[in-house]
């Protein structure tokens, strides 16, 4: 019981907790991206660390957040079209936290996070709805048949895994031919009725994301909102180890959720994602 009381004490201050988790994910992400644009990052890291260790008690500016924002901005400027989508989201969250250090209004910070999260999830829904390849199930069908979805569960179905490998090899062989000849291949289904499964899975994805976006907009702190949101995050992680993006969504969950048990679930997701990121099992 004593442990739960201690845990509850830690979970109660969500802004401080989410800030610490964000720093953790930021550090991992920035470290993994450190070899890009090194010429610009070296002075930022050097000056940032020096200021942090020597001046952090004298300066009222949040040096560590400014440094991280500087590093993210360098990549944004030089690699705009190559960056992962969560790089953009990370920048917006860091910017919100940075500005929070000046206005000190938790309601404004939480509103920033809420609206940002709604925009991200809602845009994802719109992008899917406007993609005929996605809505017909063709995209998921291709991913399933290459063994790119539910990779960790595929090991329990060795026959399906073999079919996926054979499909990937056929595609590589096709790529080696002159496309002007008009040659094509027929993918073998890794599971029976895969066409229907892919179609249904596509619609389930859209419906869940839409429900999450609407509930986050209308009831950002509601219990059901966060139950559905955590289910969505865990569901995506089961599908693929998109740990970088999911860690960010879970951090947003820590900011917004009022229920301590669900907040603990979010913390577990972030720490789990961080572990998978730094061990390179998950994507950063």
């Amino acid at each position: 019981m004593k442990y739960w009381t201690d845990i509850k004490d830690h979970l109660k201050d969500q802004i401080s907790l989410a800030g610490q988790l964000l720093l953790l994910i930021l550090a991992a992400y920035v470290f993994m991206m450190a070899d890009e644009n090194r010429r610009w990052k070296v002075p930022i890291i050097f000056i940032g660390l020096l200021s942090y260790f020597l001046l952090r008690h004298k300066k009222k500016h949040p040096i560590i957040w400014i440094t991280f924002l500087g590093l993210l901005t360098v990549d944004l400027y030089h690699n705009y079209f190559w960056l992962a989508n969560h790089h953009f989201m990370l920048m917006f969250i860091v910017l919100s936290v940075l500005i929070y250090h000046y206005h000190k209004r938790s309601d404004i910070l939480l509103k920033n996070i809420q609206i940002l999260l709604v925009i991200v999830v809602l845009t994802s829904v719109v992008q899917k709805l406007t993609s005929s390849q996605f809505m017909t199930g063709n995209f998921y069908y291709n991913m399933f048949n290459h063994g790119d979805l539910f990779i960790n569960f595929m090991n329990f179905f060795p026959e399906s895994l073999e079919i996926a490998k054979s499909n990937s090899k056929s595609v590589i062989d096709l790529q080696a031919t002159d496309p002007n000849i008009g040659e094509s291949i027929v993918l073998r289904d890794v599971f029976p009725s895969l066409s229907s499964i892919s179609y249904i899975f596509a619609w389930i994805t859209v419906v869940i994301e839409l429900v999450v976006a609407i509930t986050l907009l209308l009831k950002p702190k509601g219990l059901w909102t966060h139950l559905v949101f955590t289910m969505m995050i865990i569901g995506i992680l089961c599908t693929r180890f998109e740990t970088g993006f999911m860690a960010l969504l879970a951090i947003c969950g820590v900011y917004l959720c009022n229920n301590l048990r669900l907040r603990l679930v979010y913390v577990l997701i972030v720490v789990g994602c961080f572990t998978l990121m730094i061990t390179r099992i998950g994507y950063h």
Binding site: L95, L116, T123, Q133, Y141, P179, V186
Partner: protein, 135 residues
């Protein structure tokens, strides 16, 4: 009044920035053929990844072009990511300059899949014919 405006900016300024980035991404997707996966528009997992696009140059190996040539990697990378006429021309010009050839025919293809019959094939996105004398 000033406080209300300040509060509105603080609350919705950053989310508005996100909307601007999304609008830019949609513009590039619809006018420059940028892959939905990139550009901060949260369109990942909505179409086959641009890695599956195929650059085809008759009579030329792509591997030999890319070997130890970072400019070529970057230019052809952009062509895969944003397969449009501008990027085809840029790639063609660079290849002509690098290989000292008189002319080049360069194509960019993308895969299509039909879940109803499992049919996997390729369709031509765009192509250019360039002559060294025209550069």
């Amino acid at each position: 009044m000033a406080n209300t405006a300040r509060e509105l900016i603080l609350k919705y300024g950053i989310p508005s920035l996100a909307v601007v980035i999304i609008a830019i991404q949609l513009f590039y997707v619809n006018t420059k053929n940028l892959s939905k996966w990139k550009g901060g528009g949260y369109g990942m997992y909505t179409e086959i990844h641009y890695f599956s696009n195929q650059i085809y140059i008759p009579g030329m190996s792509l591997d030999s072009l890319l070997k130890d040539n970072s400019e070529m990697k970057s230019t052809l990378g952009y062509l895969m990511l944003m397969p449009n006429k501008d990027n085809l021309n840029k790639a063609g010009e660079l290849i002509l300059k690098t290989t000292q050839k008189d002319s080049i025919h360069i194509q960019i293809w993308k895969p299509i899949v039909n879940s109803k019959d499992g049919f996997y094939s390729r369709v031509l996105i765009d192509e250019v014919h360039l002559k060294a004398t025209e550069l």
